[in-house]
Structure formats: structure tokens, C-alpha cells
């Protein structure tokens, strides 16, 4: 069929349903996609991640180029105001007319707001879109107590996100058990304490009767049917959805609770289909993601006239995306003949419901092994002879035993067969690639281990290809490093030209800059344009475009003289905030770019590298100097280690600590590199973290002397510098390759000596104090804009180091 004869399909709505229809139809129709929101389709299933720091870009389902590549004409910020099915024309709010042969309504739903007195008070938010998340996140700062009305999937995820932000939060639920639509009573009883463990207060059988507000109209409490109250200054409503049917109703289509569709997903007008949360099929409106993909696939078949386009309904499946709680459900949680495996102490619960000899439902809590296999049995209503045997054998099943039709990724509706085909046909070699191509694992990510397993099976057990340094180049770190060595390349520009990708997306330039500097032992040609702004001006950019200044204070030890100079700088430059950091440093915040050189000059202290993917701080406890428990001189070793490492750039930041005894006051167990004095020696820990990820470091080795500990730390540092992917923290690296492989490298005497030699070569060529650029800026306006000048340097104070 030529392009001109292709069916013109207008997809109305850029949610997961609209995107899914586009994916199914791509290449077989001329598609226009009208998105009401000002963004390309994003993964609403993971909305909670927006509350905890993810950007909308990270949730975007496909890059803009995907739509262009598939000939899809996307209109964002283009809500459809009128639809004329007979004429085949839709009109956007801005007056743009879009014609179509067939239209698919994917208008989704709004949050259901229950008719509670006072629900329109300020501080009451729904949890539905990015704008809601922005309001909730900003209200969460300074909020003393938040209440989430609704103890279903969405409510629990909202409560979890708020708890992660450090907000005290209560979940208020009308029913006497959580997630009553998906769980039976015993599973719900196990879930409640697991949720409580995350710091979320759970109140069941609480009917909210009124939202009370203060004189300013802002929410102050909830009042319940039993007369009790809950004080709160933020309320998030997550009780359900209301299908968005206004456009369909005005277009004269039959509307009940949702837009009524038949088994061909067609509305009362043959030209118009409806898919997703806005559609009502056989009296059912689905509010979860999995059925949407089923419907989109059928709708595409109907539009193409493929013949077998009959939708008979979906088995609902759900996955709770809350860290530390594994919960997967499918179909009915109760009824029929059920077998249950329950491990009391661990709180694990596995249930399979069988009706008329066929799998009808599954609940897996705390132990979700074999989830894909069991979900597939429920989805296909597979015959079950021995339910107990299926339940136990599923936990041993590998990805090889899954049928091709088994859905691996529930977020994006991708089944095993599609993943295997993609791996074979496109010769994919890494999990990163498989995720990018198939979208399996691009949602909540919980199925990524299965994706990796399928890849390993297809590759016959061969190791995965390394991930690309930047997907736009399709070249790995090793390939690019070999290119630098082979052609003796000196800079990012040389590498860009030589590696022949012909593109330069910008995103990978800092990674390439690190790679060139690392391979050449810091004897490279520095190019400022390849560096992030922090590395151009040696300061950390803040949310208002100002910068922060952190001087070097090795081991966290300072002096009266340094503190006096810092105080003088704060006064003279009217620095709005002075803050002690978690790494035992002093941070001057709110500094303008033009002030940086003069402040550095007046501080007379070297850069603390607190802005770079580099060796940051070595934190210490007082150790044997003053502490009555100290076993080792942690301050001395901390200062020595910091002096030995400072100025070195690394794949990601490296935070270290030295503790003088296992009481671990310097928190060395949770640092990238941690040294701990014990009876008779020192322990060296690597791969610890205590930020967004919390991980105790692995014990690399126990050594005898402080010098041995420092040497081993430096050997590990160089190993990490040479082997980790750019942007990979040590904890990710240690987990990925395993501590045994790292030990084999850094404890081998010959290899350790070679690593230490390369460390010395690189260290010798570092710039120990980038702040000296104040005397000789790389470009005239390095620390200024076109219409400003850097502030003049006042002479260094007496006694200051330079």
C-alpha cells in the first residue's frame, strides 16, 4: 500500500493508551497523535518517581526522534475541543483542524474526588499528573503531616513517595484492608505492617467525613465518621479514577461510566474507537496498565482489518512499586479452590486460585519468584492439575520455561516472544539495548533481571556486551579507549572526529572528556566545552544559577586562621548561607559566578573539588588523638589519604572516610572507600553508599598498617577509575562485577603494582588546585557574562597558603 492510500488515524490522548496504540499501528497507518498535556507521552505508572526527584524527561516513553522516525505527527499541548465523527474532523482548543479516517479516543481519566465536605480546601491535591506532583512536592517541604486518602495501589505509592521525602504520612482507607480489589484478607494483613515499616501510618476503616481548614482556607485536619480527627497540612486524594468522557459525550457517542465500546473496541460511531481508562467494555472500566496494552493491540488489528480483532476482556494484574515490598497480583484473589504457601516469620505469602480446573488468580507477596509464569497461567486460564505443584515449581522456573506469550514487562506490555525476537533479529548484546529497543524494563524496572536472563539464554551464556558510553555513538567505553590509544588522541574533539559517529549529542561529552583524561594519565588537551559548567568554573551550580564554594579541609580538620578568613569572606561578599556539609566541610552558598575568583583569592585555601566527578572528601573521626576508644590514628590517615587522592577525576564522585575504631563514627562502612581501625590492623571497605541508595561496603581486605590501608585504597581507586562505566558509582560497580573479581584484580601483587604506577602517573599530572585559574583565566569572560566583569582580586591575606 502506498503512503497516500494508508489509513489516516487520529489518536486523541498522549497517555500510555495513546502511546500504546501508536506503537501497535506504527508503520501501517498515517498517524497523528494529539496530546492534551505539553509533553510527549510519559510513563504515568511511575508518577511517584516525580515526587522523589525523577524528571519528566526520565519518564518519557520514547524520544522525540522515535515519532519522526515512525512518521507520527505529534501535537503536544493540543487538547481536542470538538470531535465530528461523521465529518472525520477533530478541532484542537487552539482551532487547528485534524482530519481522519478513523479516530481512537485515549482520553484517559481524571482523579476521582469524593464528595467530602471541605475537599476544595487549599492543600488538598490529587495525584494524577506532573503538575499535581510539582504541587505535592513543593507542599511537602515544610509540611508537618500529610494524609493520603485511599489505600489502593496509587495511594500506597503516593504515601511511599511522601515518606521517602521525609514527610510524616498517614494512609486513610475507607475499607478494613489495603488494596481490597487485588488482595485477600491474609495478604492485606501482611502488607499493612510492611507498609508501616516504611514509616507510613496506616488507618483502616476510616471514612473521611470532612476536611477541616484554618481561617486562611488551608487544610488543618481530617474528621472521620467515628468523630476522631487527624491533624494534617497536606492531603493527597487517591481513591480512584473518573473516565474522561466529555469529548465523547459532546460528539454524541454513547457514554455510560466510560465511553461504551463493543468487542471491536468501537464506540457507537463506527469511525471512532476508544482504548484505555476512558473506555467501558462489557460494563468494565480498567484503571490499571496491563489491560490497556491488550486493548491497544486489538484496536490496531481492528483498524488494519486484520480479522481477528475481538477483545473479550483482560485479567487485571498489578504490581506495587514500593521499595522493599514485592507484591504481584493477577485475577481473583479469592474464591474457587485455593492453595496457599505462607512463611510466617518472613511475611512471605504465595497463593494460587483455581476455578473449574483452570488458573484464575494469584497473589505473591514478599516472594515473587516465578511471577511471570504464574501470571501467564492466570492470563491464559491455563488448566491446572496440581495447584500446589505449580505454585512450588514456579518458584524454581527460569525464563527459559516461560511461554513466548508470557508478559515479562507489565508496565509496557512486552511479552517474552517479542524480547527474544528483538534480540535475535537485531542482534542485541546488552540489557541496556534490549530495554531501549523493546521498552521491556523501561518502566518500574522490576523485570530487568528476567530481560537479562533472556539475553543470557539467547547468547548461550556469553557475557553481555558492555554498555555504550553514549547510545548516540553505539560505541563502548573499551572501543573508545582503544581508539584513543591507537591514534594517540589528545582531546574530545579528536575522539569525536576519529570515532566516526558523526554526532555529538552533548550528553556524552563529559564522559568522553573523562575517558580521554583517564586513558592519557591526565596528559590530554583540556576542552572546556566538553565539561559540565561545574568543571568550567570549579564550583557547584545551584537551583538559582548561583554557585557554591567548598574549600579543601583535609580530613575535616581546620584551624582558627582558616575559620577567620572564611568568616571575613562571608561578611565581605554578603554570602547568604554558610553550611556545614555531611562530608565535614564548610559550604558557602549563593555565590555569583563573578565573585568566584575574588573569593578564592581571599580564602587562600585550595579547591575542595566538591563540584566534580572526582575524589571528594575523606571524613574522619578523632581517633587516637582524643577518643578514649580509638584504636588507630584516623585523622592522620584520613589527611594522608585525601592528600594522595585529591585532584583525581573519577567515573563518578568518590566519598571516603576513616574511622578509628569499629564504632565507625566517620561512617566509613557506607563510603565508596572506607578504612576502619580494628584490633591489630585496618579494614578496607569499598562500594558503600548512604545516599539515595544505602549499602554497606564490601570488606576488600584486612591489612596490618595505615600505609598498607592507604596503598590498598589507592589501588582500588585506580581500578575503579579504569574499569567503571562513566556515571557509575562504586557501589553500582562493586555490585555489577562482584567483590571477588575486584579482589582478584587489586590483591594480585603484580597487578596492584601496575595499578599503583598508573595512579602515580595520573596523580602527578593533576591540577591540585583548579582555583589557581583566578590568576590566568582560560578565556577573558571565564567567570563573567558578556555584560559583566569578574570582581577584582584583593591581595591574599597574610599567612594564607596559595
Amino acid at each position: 500500500m502506498s503512503r497516500d492510500e494508508r489509513l489516516e488515524v487520529l489518536v486523541i490522548g498522549g497517555g500510555i493508551a495513546g502511546q500504546s496504540v501508536c506503537e501497535e499501528l506504527a508503520g501501517t497507518a498515517t498517524i497523528a497523535l494529539a496530546c492534551a498535556e505539553p509533553h510527549l507521552p510519559y510513563d504515568r505508572v511511575n508518577l511517584g518517581k516525580l515526587l522523589t526527584g525523577a524528571t519528566l524527561g526520565e519518564l518519557q516513553l520514547r524520544p522525540g526522534s522515535w515519532y519522526a522516525d515512525h512518521d507520527i505527527d505529534v501535537h503536544v499541548d493540543a487538547p481536542i475541543a470538538a470531535l465530528d465523527p461523521a465529518a472525520g474532523v477533530a478541532t484542537t482548543a487552539a482551532g487547528l483542524e485534524l482530519s481522519f479516517d478513523r479516530a481512537v479516543l485515549c482520553t484517559g481519566s481524571d482523579a476521582l474526588v469524593p464528595p467530602i465536605a471541605g475537599i476544595d480546601a487549599m492543600g488538598v491535591e490529587v495525584f494524577r499528573g506532573p503538575a499535581d506532583c510539582e504541587r505535592i512536592a513543593s507542599a511537602a517541604t515544610g509540611c508537618t503531616h500529610a494524609a493520603v486518602i485511599g489505600g489502593g495501589l496509587l495511594g500506597l505509592e503516593a504515601a511511599y513517595a511522601l515518606a521517602t521525602l521525609g514527610v510524616a504520612v498517614s494512609v486513610v482507607h475507607l475499607m478494613d484492608r489495603l488494596m481490597e480489589r487485588q488482595l485477600d484478607a491474609p495478604a492485606a494483613e501482611l502488607l499493612a505492617p510492611a507498609i508501616a515499616q516504611l514509616g507510613v501510618d496506616v488507618r483502616l476503616a476510616h471514612a473521611t467525613e470532612e476536611v477541616l481548614h484554618d481561617a486562611g482556607g488551608h487544610v488543618r485536619a481530617l474528621r472521620f465518621a467515628d468523630g476522631t480527627q487527624l491533624d494534617c497540612d497536606l492531603v493527597v486524594v487517591a481513591v480512584g479514577i473518573r473516565p474522561q468522557v466529555a469529548l465523547a459525550r459532546e460528539a454524541g457517542l454513547e457514554v455510560n461510566r466510560g465511553i461504551v465500546v463493543d468487542d471491536a473496541l468501537t464506540t457507537s460511531h463506527p469511525r471512532v474507537l476508544a482504548v484505555g481508562e476512558c473506555a467501558e467494555h462489557r460494563g468494565v472500566v480498567h484503571g490499571i496498565v496491563a489491560p490497556i496494552h491488550d486493548q491497544a493491540a486489538i484496536a490496531a488489528r481492528v483498524l488494519r482489518g486484520d480479522g481477528d480483532g475481538v477483545y473479550t476482556g483482560s485479567v487485571p494484574t498489578a504490581k506495587l512499586k514500593v521499595m522493599g515490598i514485592d507484591l504481584v497480583t493477577a485475577g481473583d484473589a479469592e474464591g474457587g479452590h485455593a492453595v496457599v504457601v505462607r512463611d510466617e516469620p518472613s511475611g512471605a505469602y504465595r497463593k494460587l486460585v483455581v476455578r473449574d480446573g483452570r488458573a484464575a488468580g494469584a497473589v505473591l507477596l514478599g516472594d515473587i519468584r516465578g511471577a511471570e509464569l504464574l501470571l501467564d497461567a492466570v492470563r491464559t486460564a491455563a488448566p491446572v492439575d496440581d495447584a500446589l505443584d505449580l505454585l512450588s515449581s514456579a518458584s524454581e522456573a527460569t525464563a527459559a520455561e516461560l511461554p513466548d506469550a508470557a508478559q515479562v514487562c507489565n508496565c509496557n506490555g512486552v511479552c517474552k516472544g517479542e524480547i527474544v525476537d528483538a534480540i535475535r533479529e537485531q542482534q542485541l548484546g546488552s540489557t541496556q539495548e534490549v530495554v531501549a529497543v523493546t521498552r521491556a524494563g523501561a518502566g518500574c524496572g522490576s523485570c530487568r533481571p528476567v530481560v537479562s536472563e533472556l539475553l543470557a539464554i539467547e547468547r548461550g551464556g556469553a557475557a553481555e556486551e558492555a554498555t555504550y558510553l553514549c547510545p548516540c555513538r553505539k560505541q563502548t567505553r573499551e572501543q573508545l579507549a582503544a581508539c584513543v590509544r591507537e591514534h594517540d588522541l589528545e582531546s574530545v574533539s579528536d575522539l569525536s572526529a576519529a570515532c566516526g559517529a558523526g554526532r555529538d549529542c552533548g550528553a556524552c561529552k563529559p564522559g568522553l572528556a573523562y575517558l580521554v583524561s583517564e586513558v592519557r594519565g591526565n596528559r590530554h588537551r583540556e576542552e572546556r566545552h566538553a565539561r559540565f559548567i561545574n568543571d568550567r568554573v570549579h564550583a557547584n551550580i545551584q537551583n538559582d544559577g548561583s554557585f557554591s564554594v567548598v574549600p579543601r579541609m583535609r580530613g575535616g580538620v581546620t584551624s582558627a586562621d582558616e575559620l577567620r578568613r572564611i568568616a571575613d569572606v562571608v561578611d565581605r561578599y554578603e554570602i547568604p548561607m554558610v553550611k556545614v556539609t555531611g562530608g565535614q566541610r564548610i559550604d558557602l552558598l549563593g555565590v555569583r559566578k563573578e565573585q568566584l575568583p575574588a573569593i578564592w583569592e581571599e580564602l587562600g585555601m585550595p579547591s575542595g573539588h566538591a563540584y566534580a566527578k572526582a575524589v571528594r572528601t575523606v571524613k574522619t573521626c578523632v581517633g587516637t588523638d582524643f577518643c578514649r576508644f580509638g584504636l588507630g590514628d584516623s585523622i592522620r590517615l584520613g589527611i594522608d589519604l585525601e592528600t594522595a587522592m585529591e585532584g583525581l577525576y573519577t567515573p563518578h564522585k568518590v566519598k571516603s572516610a576513616v574511622s578509628g575504631c569499629p564504632r565507625n563514627c566517620a561512617e566509613a562502612y557506607v563510603k565508596d572507600i572506607g578504612l576502619v581501625a580494628v584490633e591489630g590492623g585496618w579494614e578496607v571497605y569499598v562500594g558503600g553508599a548512604a545516599g539515595g541508595t544505602v549499602r554497606k561496603g564490601d570488606l576488600l581486605a584486612k591489612v596490618d598498617t595505615p600505609d598498607d590501608a592507604k596503598r590498598l585504597a589507592l589501588v582500588f581507586l585506580q581500578h575503579y577509575r579504569e574499569h567503571a562505566e562513566y556515571h557509575e558509582r562504586s557501589y553500582g560497580y562493586v555490585e555489577r562485577v562482584g567483590i571477588d573479581a575486584i579482589r582478584a584484580s587489586v590483591l594480585d601483587p603484580e597487578n596492584a603494582a601496575a595499578l599503583l604506577e598508573r595512579y602515580r602517573i595520573a596523580r602527578a599530572a593533576t591540577d591540585p588546585d583548579p582555583w589557581r585559574e583566578r590568576h590566568d583565566p582560560v578565556s577573558p569572560k571565564q567567570f563573567a557574562e558578556l555584560d559583566s566583569e569578574p570582581e577584582p582580586l584583593v591581595g591574599p591575606p597574610a599567612g594564607a597558603a596559595t
Binding site: V76, G545, L786, D787
Partner: protein, 105 residues
């Protein structure tokens, strides 16, 4: 590009003050403008990222696009369009004359 009458160009600084593949900003009536030196010429867009006001002149430039240093929103420097989103930057005409940079008002 439509021809502009003489006199609508404003001198905003020295061309040498903007290094290759970097940007610097300047105040123009109505707000700040970020000016970038690309391998084959110049580009100018409004300076504040429409997302959270990040300073686009401090962004990394590649493929005729700039990436905001705060949250990685990416914009086409020729059209001002956000890559992968619906935001739009104002663009400005910019030229180099005898070592000076000029913006069209």
C-alpha cells in the same frame, strides 16, 4: 530570514569573549539572551530555561542543541524548540561584525 533595516542591530560585546561551543549571556531590553558560538556561526536564544529558569548559557552544546545545566532539558538552538517536549524558547538573530557581536531587536 527577512532583511532588516539598518539600525535595528545592537552591539552586545566582543566576539572573542564567547569561546567555541560555549555560551555567554547578556541583558537585552526584555530579558537576558544567551549567545552561543557554533562551529559555523552564532545562535541566540532566551537565557532562562522555561522549566525552572536555569542559565542556558552555562549548558553543554552539541549537535546545534544546548542542554540546561539544572535538569537537562534540551533545546534546538536554531528553532528554540525543546527536544522531546513542547517548550519553546524565543530565538534572536545574532551576527558578528568586525569582532563585535550584534543582536537584532
Amino acid at each position: 530570514m527577512t532583511a532588516l533595516a539598518e539600525g535595528t542591530w545592537v552591539d552586545v560585546g566582543a566576539a572573542r569573549d564567547v569561546p567555541l561551543m560555549e555560551g555567554r549571556s547578556v541583558r537585552l531590553a526584555g530579558g537576558r539572551v544567551a549567545i552561543f558560538r557554533l562551529p559555523d556561526g552564532w545562535a541566540a536564544v532566551e537565557h532562562a530555561c522555561p522549566h525552572k529558569g536555569g542559565p542556558l548559557s552555562d549548558g553543554i552544546v552539541g549537535d546545534r542543541c544546548v542542554t540546561c545545566p539544572l535538569h537537562n532539558w534540551r533545546f534546538d538552538l536554531d528553532t528554540g524548540e525543546q527536544i522531546g517536549g513542547g517548550a519553546q524558547l524565543r530565538t534572536f538573530q545574532v551576527r558578528e561584525r568586525e569582532g563585535r557581536l550584534e543582536l537584532a531587536t
